[in-house]
Point group: none
Chain length 198, copies 4
């Protein structure tokens, strides 16, 4: 569908040139239509990019959800490892979207910035909610604040992994994943004790 192709082209252009650098002509050319035709699908540039942002965020959310639901029955080591791997895989696989996301985070377009900030909150809430539930089910003895701290470490480590995707080449990232998993294991060890030992 033309509309979807436009959004994909918008993401690619956003990733490469940023919001101001992405132009309706380049996007149109990439899709094989004339710039004027974009306005049949979207009210204006901002609307197109707002939609593109939504797609990127929804895609990220669905990736994370999928991994989560596939792994939530596993032990915590596995769950966290797979979540971290998932961060890496998603962001390296959809580099365009990741680059676009990085430029968006500081976007001067308030609508877009708002979208992002809201998403970050929603995603965090979801993640914390899910993890709290899953972990407390597996380890009823753990105090809530311990779990909470664990999750915070997970998020922190995830951030390190994420930024690595932006600045390192693919092959350097494997090492980063190993490091991330190892650090997470340390946290688990300290919080829960034995479980992580294989």
């Amino acid at each position: 569908m033309t509309k979807d192709k436009l959004i994909q082209a918008a993401i690619a252009n956003f990733a490469e040139f940023g919001y101001q650098g992405a132009t309706m002509s380049k996007i149109a050319k990439e899709v094989g239509i004339k710039p004027a035709s974009i306005y049949y699908f979207f009210d204006n540039k901002e609307a197109l990019f707002k939609e593109a942002v939504k797609v990127i965020l929804a895609h990220h959310f669905s990736s994370m959800k999928k991994t989560y639901h596939l792994q939530k029955e596993e032990n915590l080591h596995t769950l966290f490892s797979e979540l971290l791997r998932s961060i890496l895989v998603h962001h390296t696989t959809f580099q365009n979207e990741t680059k676009a996301y990085v430029t968006m985070v500081n976007s001067p377009i308030s609508n877009i910035k708002r979208e992002i900030t809201a998403y970050l909150q929603r995603y965090n809430q979801w993640l914390v909610g899910q993890l709290m539930h899953t972990i407390s089910a597996k380890h009823p003895e753990l105090k809530e604040e311990k779990i909470s701290s664990l999750i915070d470490y997970f998020i922190f480590i995830g951030n390190g992994l994420f930024w690595g995707v932006v600045i390192y080449e693919k092959d350097e990232l494997k090492k980063n994943l190993v490091q991330a998993i190892h650090l997470m294991d340390q946290c688990l060890l300290h919080t829960i004790g034995s479980e992580v030992n294989e």
Copy 2:
């Protein structure tokens, strides 16, 4: 000096709008001169921004060096803690430069991208070189690869801290610093053993 003010204004605009979004008029207005006057100091937009990038990177380098030389005699816990704190302090104090840096990392202007990539390498080399030297002096018994791994963890944890600066508010970052230091301590503990115990 007008030239320096221009560079600062360029950084601020780059941070807020990205390369394409930053305009010579906005920059000129911020400095209190007319757009045409910028061209007395810089050949063109790209030259101005290339200079701005250099300033940002040099500034970062000097921050890190300063901390390093102040702390290199301390024990490793302190050294790493202070380096991590330094990352946080530098990037929160000079948020403009940090935001600009984030936008630059994916800059479509190849000259700028090249500058960044080169800097990242140079900085890494310096950091690794210094740490290798300092740590092996303090702990002659450690095998080189152990030290190397320690440094890698430090860099990874630093990345997490850095990305936090970009997406979190100031007060959330204190927690991040604590986490970073704690994770680093774990790494030290595993590598060196006793020293870190207070």
Copy 3:
């Protein structure tokens, strides 16, 4: 058609101000559109002027061809006289194009200069080819080099006529045409002998 009107306006502006002095605004205003609209028809200023040059040269060629084919059956005196008159008439009738041509000949825009040089060669080849054929048909007894010399004189005399158009007022030019024809007749007389005597 807007595109044709643009080319005509470009010629007029080129004639009056030269390449650098002709501006897109002046041209647009002359056509009754806004400067930005020119770019719908032409990639840029150079492309517009390259097209304008082509039009001027093609126009000149077609004028000369037309006269040639109308007069080639006549005797040589008439043929040459009419060709000379045609030079005068074409260049005085389309003064804009002539002035533009004069400015173009030394154009610093290499694309344009190239176009001109190439045309001059092509036109000369055509002229020489045609005249050789026509004259040798009418005067089989003439050696090729005699004909060639005759043609060279014609071109030389044509040049004198041409430069007159640039620097003299219309009424002075009639005398120039008479002179040109008379000189050409002298050449014919010397080459062929009797024919020219009426």
Copy 4:
């Protein structure tokens, strides 16, 4: 002297780029000073170029005068031949000035155009005056109108030679000179009769 160097640079730039294309910076750079310094010597761009034009025209006049006075005692064939050769030599030797002159002829700067037109008249008057005097001295039997016509032919032939300098390469011009002299000889022959036979 800097002022003279400026005029020479102005001529060179005028020749290459035309009035609008010649810039104060380029001229300043060529002379090795800064643009602002030009204004110590000339009120403004137009004044500089007006001066440059004067220099070109005066130079042309002096060239022609010199030849004239060297040759006025010779017979008419020699006199005209040398004058024609002089046209060729002057304009090929000082190509810059010739190119500048060609662009100036249609200059939109009225001061410059006026200067040129006035010069053309003055030069013509001088030429006609001298030739009338010289020829009637040598050939008292000739009616004034015959001499006048002879001079007109000379001017016409000179124009052909001049335009050749603009459009042909140096080696093609020798042929043009031979043609010019030959045509002039024909005119002499018709007007005066025997003299030209050597």
